[in-house]
């Protein structure tokens, strides 16, 4: 669609700009402000330059949290994206069965994040939870509060449980937009199931997959509430992801300067990663098409 040049359109955008500036820019300036100052209490601040940034960038605490965060997001994407595509391809495409499946699979998405944590906290406990008790009955030693590997597995299963449906719904929407004639043509051309997937379904899902990967990356990179409720970042620091670490630092220890510097680095990493994802997937698209 060709758009007309009209600077008066700014007036229509103004409410959004004011609102988002109030809730994003002002706080962000506070953060920047803190990040370059130090205090001895009593609300007296002095300029600290890039000291906090250096401290955060070189601290092993930050490196560890960042490493855990990347590992977590990678595992999440590696499981949820293929699984989501697979589920979407098996979803009934019309009729009451389709509606029913859509409603049921969307349900986890609408559960408050801490309740998700609570559900899995209960579900995984060996004494009162179905999952924990079942595993214990198999004779396996499983305890997500004591064992770091168990904690990781539980958090990953929880996230898969919580968010795979989002990927599936996005892909389903993409699949729904493919006209029936494409499948008929593929049958006439003798295409195998794999060829149909590779050359018809995957290209048509490209746009929604981009959204899915971006959303899942961003949200998994910001994850806080669910692991906080489930493990509190433990055992030890084994499930302390960036957000949990940040909140510990800012609200728990009230280290405003380092926390602010931490925040900015964190935010920039997300922006950078999202930008890379976006560019790479878009250029792949260009190369393909």
């Amino acid at each position: 669609m060709t758009k007309t040049w009209n600077n008066k359109a700014w007036f229509m955008v103004l409410p959004v700009v004011i609102l988002v500036a109030f809730s994003a820019l002002l706080p962000l300036m506070t953060v920047v402000n803190y990040s370059i100052q130090d205090t001895f209490g009593n609300n007296q601040f002095f300029f600290a330059g890039f000291e906090w940034f250096e401290e955060i960038m070189t601290s092993s605490r930050f490196h560890d949290a960042l490493g855990r965060q990347f590992l977590f997001s990678t595992i999440i994407l590696a499981i949820e994206v293929p699984l989501g595509i697979f589920i979407a391809m098996n979803l009934p495409s019309k009729g009451w069965k389709s509606s029913l499946c859509l409603v049921l699979i969307s349900l986890p998405l609408l559960i408050p994040l801490n309740v998700v944590g609570t559900i899995w906290q209960i579900f995984g406990r060996a004494d009162i939870g179905l999952l924990g008790a079942s595993i214990a009955a198999l004779g396996l030693d499983y305890n997500y509060t004591q064992n770091a590997v168990d904690a990781w597995i539980t958090i990953i299963v929880m996230d898969v449980w919580h968010w795979t449906s989002l990927v599936a719904l996005l892909c389903f929407a993409g699949l729904q937009s493919i006209p029936e004639a494409y499948y008929q043509a593929a049958r006439i051309d003798g295409a195998s199931k794999w060829a149909t997937f590779r050359y018809i379904q995957l290209p048509k899902m490209h746009g929604v997959l981009l959204i899915a990967v971006l959303l899942r990356f961003m949200d998994s990179f910001m994850i806080y509430t669910e692991p906080f409720v489930l493990t509190g970042g433990g055992p030890g620091n084994s499930t302390t992801f960036l957000s949990i670490d940040l909140v510990k630092m800012a609200i728990g220890q009230f280290d405003l300067g380092p926390a602010a510097a931490f925040s900015l680095i964190y935010f920039l990493i997300i922006l950078l990663m999202s930008f890379i994802f976006y560019t790479v997937m878009n250029s792949l698209d260009k190369k393909e098409g």
């Binding site: 359109a9 229509m12 609102l19 994003a24 409603v103 922006l271």
Partner: protein, 267 residues
């Protein structure tokens, strides 16, 4: 009925999704004594005691009212400001439009943890701490950009000729927008309402940071009860089930738009 491979896959997946929720429901209908001392797949002594506790104790049920209040406020605010902005983005080019759009989207990528403390200070300094509107405004941070994005997608699907025809027919802009344009993108507005509701409803970190007593959301009530009063598993489970109900209702109403909606109007 013939069992197909697809049917089997869906059955297993839905079973995987439903089991933990069922387990919560199961627990919410048991007494604490039964939860801790015997293990059963369904309640042996069915009790609604836990639900009664929540419905009669003000500190519990006011949490629900608070949550729903700020969620609805947020939904209304987000849609009202996003509608004209999305229209501007879908119809006009103006100075800095691309940058502005990108800047809006970056806010969707901002980790709430980064904003928790500054928000606390900002809202305290303007006297909005522990009010519903504070949480509603804070959630606008990620809901407004999303609303603009989704609505822009839906609006771009409406041919521009419709605007022009309406102006030729003598419609004023406001009348055209409310009488003709909004009905055309009604499903888009529904989808946005659903998303604003969803993201505001599930968010806890900001909501908990910005409230203490008066506007405390149900989610926060739950975490505090867990840490303070020992483990009242039954009530906790019942409270959890009750937080799922509004979401389930909303999904039921938008079920035919879910798929398109999750694609953010871009399919």
């Amino acid at each position: 009925m013939k069992v197909t491979k697809s049917g089997m896959v869906m059955f297993l997946y839905i079973l995987f999704l439903m089991l933990p929720i069922y387990w919560l429901l199961n627990m919410s209908l048991k007494t604490n004594n039964e939860i801790l001392n015997s293990f059963s797949l369904w309640p042996q002594n069915l009790t609604f005691e836990n639900y009664m506790t929540i419905f009669t104790d003000k500190s519990w049920y006011s949490g629900y009212i608070n949550s729903i209040t700020y969620v609805l406020m947020n939904t209304v605010i987000s849609i009202c400001v996003a509608l004209p902005a999305a229209y501007a983005f879908s119809r006009y080019r103006f100075m800095g439009d691309k940058h502005l759009f990108f800047w809006l989207l970056t806010n969707r990528m901002a980790p709430p943890a980064v904003f928790a403390l500054p928000f606390f200070q900002l809202y305290s300094s303007v006297g909005l701490f522990d009010t519903h509107i504070a949480v509603a405004l804070a959630h606008c941070l990620f809901n407004v950009p999303l609303a603009v994005w989704i609505l822009e997608g839906f609006m771009s699907g409406v041919p521009k000729e419709i605007d022009e025809t309406a102006y030729l027919d003598g419609y004023s802009f406001t009348r055209f927008f409310t009488r003709i344009f909004m009905p055309l993108i009604a499903s888009g507005i529904g989808v946005v309402a659903f998303f604003c509701f969803m993201f505001s409803w599930v968010e806890l970190l900001l909501a908990r940071t910005l409230t203490s007593v008066v506007a405390k959301p149900i989610a926060a009530t739950m975490t505090r009860t867990v840490s303070a009063a020992g483990m009242d598993w039954g009530v906790l489970a019942a409270a959890g089930i009750l937080t799922i109900v509004p979401g389930a209702l909303v999904i039921y109403f938008v079920r035919n738009y879910i798929a398109k909606g999750f694609a953010l109007g871009r399919v």
